[in-house]
Amino acid sequence: MKFKVIIFGLVLGLILIGISYTLWPVLVKTKQLTDFKLTQHQGSAFTLAHLKGKWSFIFFGYTHCPDICPVTLTLLREVKQKLAPYPKYLADTQYIFISVDGQRDTPEKLAEYVNYFDPQFIGASGTEPQINVLTRQLGIVYIRQPEVTTGQYFIDHSATIVLINPQGEIAAQFRAPHTVATIVERYTKIRQPEPVKESS
């Protein structure tokens, strides 16, 4: 009897895992973001409204990050270049670098940083609580390391690139290590079945 209960439990568990596994992309795909308030590199506010109506690639990092951040921003620039044959995609796709180091990354510093990679890239940051409103919704984690010397510290951070659709929902999450080819391929595939309803 006890044996049967265990078997039943195991089978039920497996079924539940199967269901959640198949539903996972659907669940992730429809995650609607709630509002947040950051400051963009030009000094004005950057909120959920700025994500609506466009497809947004978002990457989190900080300017004092010598390796992975410039690598990823260079990669996003390449993604943008690879999308050149699709003018439609190019026009309504934006690239956003959100600094998790609002303390050091002032709008001026962010402006110089993102412009260096692409003048059309958007940089945004804010105070820790402001940043957390967004990172928690996206499952982005960052941990500030102790100072090496005064004012000199590094931040461990999620290397995920998040894609937000024009409705402000998470459309895809690209985990590291990234490749230009896979991002472009997945993105164009997501965009392929363009919704018929133009105005909604």
């Binding site: 010598p66 690598v71 260079t74 390449e78 510093k109 110089e112 000199q152 999620s158 290590p177 230009v180």
Partner: protein, 161 residues
């Protein structure tokens, strides 16, 4: 007898000490080719940023193991070896104190991996400039190398094509 022993003691001390002092003041072996550098470059960054990274392919040309313990340059206050690691999709930088390179082994310093972190830039750097880096190995061995400041074209990381 006692006097002779004292003299002997002093003589021995003198020789030991002098050889030790001599060893300490011997100029480090430089100019010799301990390692061969290929595809060395320094990442060009926005002018206001005072830190960047250096990458290269480093081959141990000797028939002994070499232990790389650090590097220095006049252009940056500090140079550290770091390894970018991904753990649970988190990008972290782990300091590397020592790097043992086997005879003839090639070690890759590349984006998203092992790199030299150049900290606290002391003078402006633009694309095309040269950074002279002195690699420091154990046993007081050094080798000076030159690296060009370049834009990242994605070539060295596996994200193109």
């Amino acid at each position: 007898m006692y006097n002779k022993l004292t003299i002997f003691f002093w003589l021995v001390s003198y020789f030991c000490l002098s050889s030790w002092l001599y060893a300490e003041t011997t100029p480090p072996r430089s100019g010799t080719h301990l390692v061969q550098i290929e595809d060395g470059w320094v990442r060009a960054v926005p002018p206001q940023l005072t830190l960047t990274a250096a990458y290269m392919q480093l081959k141990n040309l000797t028939d002994q193991k070499l232990t790389l313990v650090g590097a220095s340059t006049l252009i940056f206050t500090k140079v550290e070896m770091h390894q970018t690691v991904f753990e649970d999709n988190m990008a972290r930088m782990v300091p590397v104190e020592k790097l043992v390179i086997a005879p003839q082994e090639i070690v890759m310093f590349k984006p998203k991996g092992l790199h030299f972190m150049l900290i606290d830039r002391q003078q402006p750097l633009t694309v095309g400039d040269t950074v002279t880096l002195t690699l420091q190995f154990e046993e007081n061995k050094t080798q000076t190398i030159k690296l060009e400041v370049k834009e990242d074209n994605g070539k060295d990381s596996d994200h193109s094509h």
